[in-house]
Symmetry: C4
Subunit: 387 residues, 4 copies
Amino acid sequence: MGFFVGKDREVRRAYGFDEIALAPGALTINPEDVNASWTIGNLKIDIPIIAAAMDGVVDIKFAQKMGKLGGLAVLNLDGVQTRYKNPAKILNEVACAPPETATALIQNLYKEEVKHELIAARVKEIKSAGVICAVSIVPKKAAEYGPIVQKAGADILIIQSTVTTVKHESSAYESLDFKNIISNLDIPVIVGNCVSYDATLDLMETGAAGILVGVGPGAACTTRGVLGIGVPQVTATVDCAAARDYFFKKTGKYVSIITDGGMDSGGDICKAFASGADAVMVGSLFARAFEAPGKGYHWGMATPDKNLPRGTRVSVGVNATIKQILVGPANLDDGSQNLAGALKTSMGSLGAKNIKEMQMVDMVIAPAIKSEGKLLQKTQKVGMGKK
Amino acid sequence: MGFFVGKDREVRRAYGFDEIALAPGALTINPEDVNASWTIGNLKIDIPIIAAAMDGVVDIKFAQKMGKLGGLAVLNLDGVQTRYKNPAKILNEVACAPPETATALIQNLYKEEVKHELIAARVKEIKSAGVICAVSIVPKKAAEYGPIVQKAGADILIIQSTVTTVKHESSAYESLDFKNIISNLDIPVIVGNCVSYDATLDLMETGAAGILVGVGPGAACTTRGVLGIGVPQVTATVDCAAARDYFFKKTGKYVSIITDGGMDSGGDICKAFASGADAVMVGSLFARAFEAPGKGYHWGMATPDKNLPRGTRVSVGVNATIKQILVGPANLDDGSQNLAGALKTSMGSLGAKNIKEMQMVDMVIAPAIKSEGKLLQKTQKVGMGKK
Amino acid sequence: MGFFVGKDREVRRAYGFDEIALAPGALTINPEDVNASWTIGNLKIDIPIIAAAMDGVVDIKFAQKMGKLGGLAVLNLDGVQTRYKNPAKILNEVACAPPETATALIQNLYKEEVKHELIAARVKEIKSAGVICAVSIVPKKAAEYGPIVQKAGADILIIQSTVTTVKHESSAYESLDFKNIISNLDIPVIVGNCVSYDATLDLMETGAAGILVGVGPGAACTTRGVLGIGVPQVTATVDCAAARDYFFKKTGKYVSIITDGGMDSGGDICKAFASGADAVMVGSLFARAFEAPGKGYHWGMATPDKNLPRGTRVSVGVNATIKQILVGPANLDDGSQNLAGALKTSMGSLGAKNIKEMQMVDMVIAPAIKSEGKLLQKTQKVGMGKK
Amino acid sequence: MGFFVGKDREVRRAYGFDEIALAPGALTINPEDVNASWTIGNLKIDIPIIAAAMDGVVDIKFAQKMGKLGGLAVLNLDGVQTRYKNPAKILNEVACAPPETATALIQNLYKEEVKHELIAARVKEIKSAGVICAVSIVPKKAAEYGPIVQKAGADILIIQSTVTTVKHESSAYESLDFKNIISNLDIPVIVGNCVSYDATLDLMETGAAGILVGVGPGAACTTRGVLGIGVPQVTATVDCAAARDYFFKKTGKYVSIITDGGMDSGGDICKAFASGADAVMVGSLFARAFEAPGKGYHWGMATPDKNLPRGTRVSVGVNATIKQILVGPANLDDGSQNLAGALKTSMGSLGAKNIKEMQMVDMVIAPAIKSEGKLLQKTQKVGMGKK
């Protein structure tokens, strides 16, 4: 199963979205007949596509619109929304900063303290639209903010950091008791991120309703370059989904696997489900919405780290509404719009009636296609030859 | 035979044209002595290279010229030719549209209805030149248009969509009865596209005379990016050809395997035959003909989809006649001209007397060569250093 | 040993120079103590690096200089040197042609007939400098020109075409009797090109003194793009060298394996020997000599083909003397100069005393290094950020 | 374990940093609790990151600052520092030379003789700051300079050339007796470079305290292009570390494995430790320091070779202090700053308390991520479309 990278050191090959493709078989289904919905706790969500808790992507209005369209957006409670009363002004500063000083500016702006009263206020603002409200906090604040969040009316709590494990050693502080925190809350708690079978099992034992899968794959994340750490998402999702299936067999409890990061198109989203995901979380694809607060820029939650920033402010431009991106109609054909439609069409073409069946479709290892690029190059040469 | 992409998930590696090369052995044949002809139904076609049913590639005159040169071109009966009395004007609009609005324009132009009288008219126009006439329709129109097409004198009917299977589930409409449709027609019917052994067998059982192989590989197709779906053509062709051989052993009926899409050069075409194809269908290579109606642009049949366009209007420029492209002489050395000559020269160099032998030549997995690029880069550096 | 590219179709992976690297071990040798010489027939050649029979690379003066430096250059007797009394003028025309008409111009210029009297004259011109004279002809002219060439005083005859096999079928002409042609000549005959074990054995049986190995790898060759044919040179050399070793064991006769094409640097040349070559033939590296007649351009022998040109006129610029390229000193560090010095230094670092030992050094499969490129990109970004 | 590159020739696949990634598991540690220190001889060094002995990187002041920050920098005693009394002037000349003449200029400047008095003087200058002093010399000067260096007060001696082996054959001079040289010195001696298990064992037998691992991977090194030689660093480090572990089991003596070259980021450094390194030596990352004498340029020790230069003067620009690069805080997020912080954060995320545990963390083979690039390209297209 492994490859030797040197004497006596056998390691696994891990695969990413660019390296696989889905293979249709002998059955197809009318896309209008497929069911892509997702259930977590008692909540049923029509479209299993979640906008990531990034300050450049999700603000109050964004979360409300996503909810009304049948999807879900997570508000980051550790960012500008809870540090500043008027986050729009701050976000504007980031968008206007020249590239070479953007990281330093972000580091500086995030030195402002998080304010308790803003946490509750933001949750209530989202709920005022009558949609499901999901918010995210960092592990070390989970015990403190969890009850505030629940009391304010949030429906889903996400506890998230770059790498999150139940077992954590520190001489300076006491380790987090995830089990205790989660059992004290009534709302479903999603925890992450992790990428291994064992870490997933540990996190499931704490009572988590969902697990975020993904370390180092995202577009706004430089974890792999800075720390050398990162597992491509197909392999990470397959492994963590295997832990989910084992846990379900053992306990009867079905915990959601949510692939988080690294998806650049509807095609990548389809591949995440085919790898075993119950839902996916994407950032950069939604950053291109006219309604996104980052105005075409987004950055990850490790960007503000004051000693070792590991996120990039990525410029993606804006070119569509949230609606176009989530449910279409698309006016671009590059896989960046009508993500829900793409998922259903893909499921139909692959003969998958629901997400459970989509998790079992055929995939092949296949190099990313570059045919188009080759042709375009030819064209340009021809064009040049004529001038 | 497979690779593990994660715990307990074993998948196959699939290969595309760029990854293989043909290996000459101990026998060569004078290219003038090789026979590359192809038989489907009672029709014998000298050159087994088919121009794809794309609106930017094939119109009436194009089909007539291809036929006279010994090849075959397919007219798309679901596009501008049957929606508009004067398609040239429409095609001109597409060619003149700026890149960022091209997809939306195409979506809009294809809202016009297909007209029955134009279907019959187009078939008769092609036949007036005394050549073999092949036309394509989408599955849901097969029962309706099939008889019209045959009555008008077409020689070959192609029923084609992105992924076509005999087994199809829908709550909104009744599934297509391919067997019935085909048995009611006297002309050979080619069905596709598919990429798997099982789906090919199913389609062969319906009485099809040929199967189109290829999902997601073409230059004007973004199926893989949008839906995550796509199987590289070498593997798809090998698999479907294996189904053909099994079906022939079982039934005595030889059904043609036609590799459709993803071929960018004469070299790719040769590889398709070496993978098991009886004929090939190419779009972009013919889009560069002076006679192509797209004036250097072409686009796929999923481009007009109103909710989820998955085709690109590709600009390839024009630089040769149909004759130069199909039978030469070539004045470019990049594999884009004299495709029939390239096939015969390749067969001679590989010691293959006919297509059956070409299907069994040696191939190796080999990375695409980039030597030329490396040298050119060196050159440019040298050049720059001197200025 | 193989990989499945589809159902029941198992093929080998073939490797090129970019994919391997040589691995030093526990012994090193002073480069001044290694012996890289090569013997063919009764001729001993100090430097086993041959300038290819390309019209843009080798003319009379070039061949004389190479010989005096201890190397060997081959004059093409099927090109401008034997078609035109004053080839310099013709070569100048090619060098001045704009890119888009170069292939057509070359096709046209090569329509001129080859003249018998020029064949003998060119051989005598080279010999007048007292160096070893090697010339090349195409197979179909071998019986006719062979005796002329020998009578004029040539030392080595090369019979060369894209793919050459002993077994060749044609209804229009009689197959070449290599055995008869070679036995009628007293000088050593080198035959090629081929890439397989069986074809090499066949050619060795004819009495050839050397075999040219390489189909489709060269910088001025588009065989792979046009015909789909090409085997990467590491695998081709290893296979043909295995045939040489078997033939030597069986007959006691040692036939040279000469890797021809695809080498872009001294490093690639070293890898060819490590793969089993006794000598190498390179074109583009010598095309950069101030003395090369192509003035910075070169093209392959299939470029002039009137129906299916498969060679490119490659522009490489000129930047060094033949002496600098062959034996140094180098003033560039990119592996394009002092090829003989690079070979000896590599042999020393790998602990190989002679070419026989060099053929057995350790190699590893390793991706081409791009570290430099990565750094340079960073630099440019930094630079841009500062402006 | 191997792959066949041709008949009967089985070779290993070797892996570089770009091809692997580190995989977090079920345990994490507070980065402030990890211990990354390194011991060689009786010296304990807090940060196991060494600035390479390159003239463009390390001068007296640089070495002093690195030592004070807890790291180590090696002064090259075979370069401009010992050939010229005023090296700053010479370094300035190199920095100002245009690219096409830089190699020739470096070749020329290094013709100046090394002066004994400057060797001792440089050592004393470094020691005057009270830091650990490490210097490097070439093997053929080891017997001559070793005692001078020790007498002047150096703490660590490095004997280094491109490929260094205990077994070396030469007819012109007597082979170096490493064992004798090392036993005559009291200070720890580090020897290299090598890449194989056997060569490492041989060098360890001589009494070396550390082994430099790396041939052909560095950014300023063109060994692989010129000589075809080079083993990617993950495999080289794993193999040499295996020799260390075997030698320790056999003799009880622990010899340090120091991965030298090819690391472009903190991530690559983390991967070197995960491959088995006890310390790492990097050049290009420190060349970007404001304090580096090369003013944004650096070059390797084989660049000055007068017949066969194999190093490039690489331009990297300058953008940070030594302190920012080594211990942060970082103001760039590309992995080029706060290398020690990155190592500790990575160790914490991977659950490794010390370097010994870091050598055993999980790694996977994974393609280099290009997600960011893909997105940026999209952005640019969008941007262009709007103008």
